[in-house]
């Protein structure tokens, strides 16, 4: 949370600094205008320009302010849990009363962690593969143009719809066209399980991964590709040795951002059957044996606790604490994305 606060404070600081710099520059300009040493003395003040600058700066400050107030309010509410029993809170489980020594989010962390891992293992290779095919192999035709349009539209489909898809494919036994049975999918995922949730969210973020990877692949300079072809590289060698290394930073950033989106989603999980209680045991974080069992995830816990606060007001604070944990997790992922991107960019250039 301290990190969060620091990030927040430093962003405010930067905004204030930007503001004062704007002022200083304006004053300096005015002074130069008055002195008029050069032949280009500024004779009038640019009022409209200054006003515009002020307006866009206040837009920035307003959005930061709203975000900051929400963030501080959440941290303050959750502080009672986080400051006194931080590790207990991370290791605890779902309880019926907020005043409980064993209350915590461990089951949610387990679910969210494995959902992230499954998304990384499925959406990443499929998305990057599809993007490379579309950019490097597919002929530019009306069909591929349509396909790209469809992918872009899929990125904007509400997440609940993907939840329904997940329910249809991975949770309930269904047949498509009346004869293609999908029961084997349910047998594989175990129905209402982390595996189903992870696969559903993979489908959800797949369009985002494809689009960002496509943009990264498109940005590879044509000179590099021609250089490789000119030396007798085949297409696959060219893709492996030029396109992938050059596009790696962009692909990684896109994938990790997609992953943090998947971790924050709640609606599809409700449909796929994340539950908010009745989980008997807390599996170890690395224990993959519970992947096909009943599950929950951090966003579900937050939803559950917020709805419980009427009955037991203490759950409001617990929900706030869970939000902070989820935020920290997402922030950690985003920071990893930035660090990895910087690392690969440095390696590339």
């Amino acid at each position: 949370m301290i990190v969060l606060l620091l990030v927040f404070v430093s962003s405010i600081e930067r905004a204030v600094m930007a503001f004062t710099t704007v002022g200083a520059v304006a004053r300096g300009g005015a002074r130069r205008g008055l002195v008029g040493t050069s032949g280009f003395a500024k004779l009038r003040t640019d009022i409209a320009g200054g006003l515009f600058k002020f307006l866009i700066l206040s837009a920035l400050l307003a959005s930061l302010l709203i975000l900051g107030v929400l963030l501080i309010d959440t941290i303050v509410s959750g502080w009672s849990q986080l400051s006194t029993r931080f590790w207990d809170f991370l290791n605890g489980s779902l309880r019926s009363r907020s005043i409980d020594d064993r209350l915590g989010v461990q089951q949610g962390l387990y679910g969210s962690f494995w959902i992230g891992a499954i998304v990384a293992c499925t959406a990443f290779p499929i998305g990057v593969g599809a993007a490379i095919y579309l950019e490097e192999y597919a002929l530019r035709s009306r069909l591929t143009a349509t396909l790209e349009l469809v992918i872009r539209n899929l990125a904007g489909v509400p997440s609940v719809v993907y939840g329904l898809l997940g329910l249809f494919l991975f949770v309930e036994r269904n047949t498509i066209f009346g004869f293609i049975g999908l029961g084997w999918l349910v047998d594989a995922t175990g129905g209402r399980s982390v595996l189903s949730a992870g696969l559903t969210l993979s489908v959800l973020v797949l369009p985002i991964v494809i689009i960002t990877a496509q943009e990264a692949v498109r940005a590879v300079p044509v000179q590099l590709k021609e250089g490789a072809y000119g030396l007798g590289a085949t297409k696959s060698e060219m893709v492996r040795t030029q396109v992938l290394p050059y596009a790696a930073p962009g692909i990684l950033t896109g994938t990790l951002l997609a992953m943090s989106r998947a971790i924050g989603e709640a609606a599809p999980l409700i449909l796929v059957g994340a539950i908010s209680g009745g989980l008997t045991n807390n599996p170890e974080l690395w224990d993959a044996s519970a992947l096909r069992e009943k599950f929950t995830a951090l966003p579900i816990i937050i939803v559950e606790w917020v709805s419980e606060r009427g009955r037991d007001p203490g759950f409001a604070d617990a929900a706030a604490a869970a939000i902070v944990v989820l935020l920290a997790l997402v922030l950690l992922l985003n920071m990893t994305a930035i660090l990895l991107r910087n690392y690969f960019e440095r390696k590339r250039d």
Partner: protein
């Protein structure tokens, strides 16, 4: 791939320098190096590398080059000159089938490399590019170390793996490109840290490393300063003994300085469709082109009255 390798192999025996030194005696005992057909006494000039016959290049409906016919000779430097848009680069990129990468490009006519039609469906474009190297207009080193840049071609061609054999190829190629003394102490540094002229010589070293027969150069000096340009020109002169070189240049003085033969291309505006097509106006010894051209358009261009 094997069938294509044989079809190209039939065209020209594997040059001596392809054979690894370590296996020299082995190759000698098994199969004495075959010699190219010795028809030097019949022909007044060197063997023909490229026989271009009525080649036209289209991008979709647009005809970029119309009916170009010329012969490129072995161990000579052939220069393509002409104003912008005259199709000289387009024609050059047919020689190693780089135009294949543009899906709308289409080539008609016949373009033979030592008697084998490069556009025969049995010919593998990848194999062609391994034998016919290319240096591009803008230096385009890969964002890797100097060594990895030179090693790239041999590695994808399977000529050598890491180790002393590859080190030899890297050193020889850099020596031939007159870059070795400048970079021998920093082979593992990123190639993007080199100057523009060094980068272009690295690209030449990289092209040499796959041991091609021909080097195609697409305005290799247009992004370089005069000193770097001079070095590249001197280098081309040295490389002539081992390779046949085709160079596209905007710089007429450069063509006059380095080339043995020059092809002058011009642009023809089609009155009805308002499209511009490149045509080969004149092809002759460089001396003739610059001192005594037979076509008026060539004379106007080389004397600077048009361009």
């Amino acid at each position: 791939m094997s069938s294509t390798a044989t079809i190209l192999d039939a065209a020209k025996p594997i040059p001596e320098r392809l054979v690894m030194p370590a296996t020299d005696h082995l190759v000698d005992s098994l199969d004495p190096e075959p010699h190219p057909p010795d028809d030097a006494e019949d022909l007044p000039t060197a063997a023909v590398v490229f026989d271009v016959d009525a080649v036209s290049v289209y991008y979709g409906e647009f005809r970029a080059v119309q009916d170009a016919s010329l012969k490129v000779h072995e161990h000579e430097i052939t220069a393509f000159i002409g104003p912008s848009g005259c199709g000289k680069t387009t024609l050059l990129r047919c020689f190693n089938r780089m135009n294949d990468l543009i899906s709308s490009a289409r080539v008609t006519g016949s373009l033979c490399y030592y008697g084998v039609d490069l556009y025969n469906p049995q010919v593998d474009a990848v194999e062609v590019r391994r034998r016919i190297g290319m240096v591009f207009q803008k230096p385009n080193p890969f964002p890797k170390s100097i060594k990895d840049n030179v090693a790239y071609g041999p590695k994808v061609a399977g000529l050598a793996k890491k180790g002393p054999a590859m080190d030899d190829i890297v050193e020889n190629s850099l020596r031939k490109a007159a870059l070795w003394d400048e970079v021998k102490d920093r082979l593992n540094d990123n190639a993007l840290g080199l100057s523009g002229g060094q980068q272009q010589r690295l690209c030449i070293a990289r092209a040499i490393a796959t041991d091609p027969d021909v080097l195609l150069m697409d305005e290799p000096c247009s992004a370089l300063d005069p000193i770097a340009t001079t070095r590249i020109e001197e280098l081309m002169h040295d490389l002539k003994t081992d390779y046949s070189i085709v160079i596209v240049t905007h710089n007429m003085q450069q063509a006059a300085r380095v080339s043995d033969r020059t092809a002058f291309f011009s642009v023809e505006v089609n009155a009805d469709s308002d499209s511009r097509t490149g045509i080969l106006v004149e092809y002759d010894f460089t001396q003739h082109i610059f001192s005594n051209p037979s076509d008026e358009r060539t004379e106007n261009y080389v004397t600077g009255r048009f361009g």
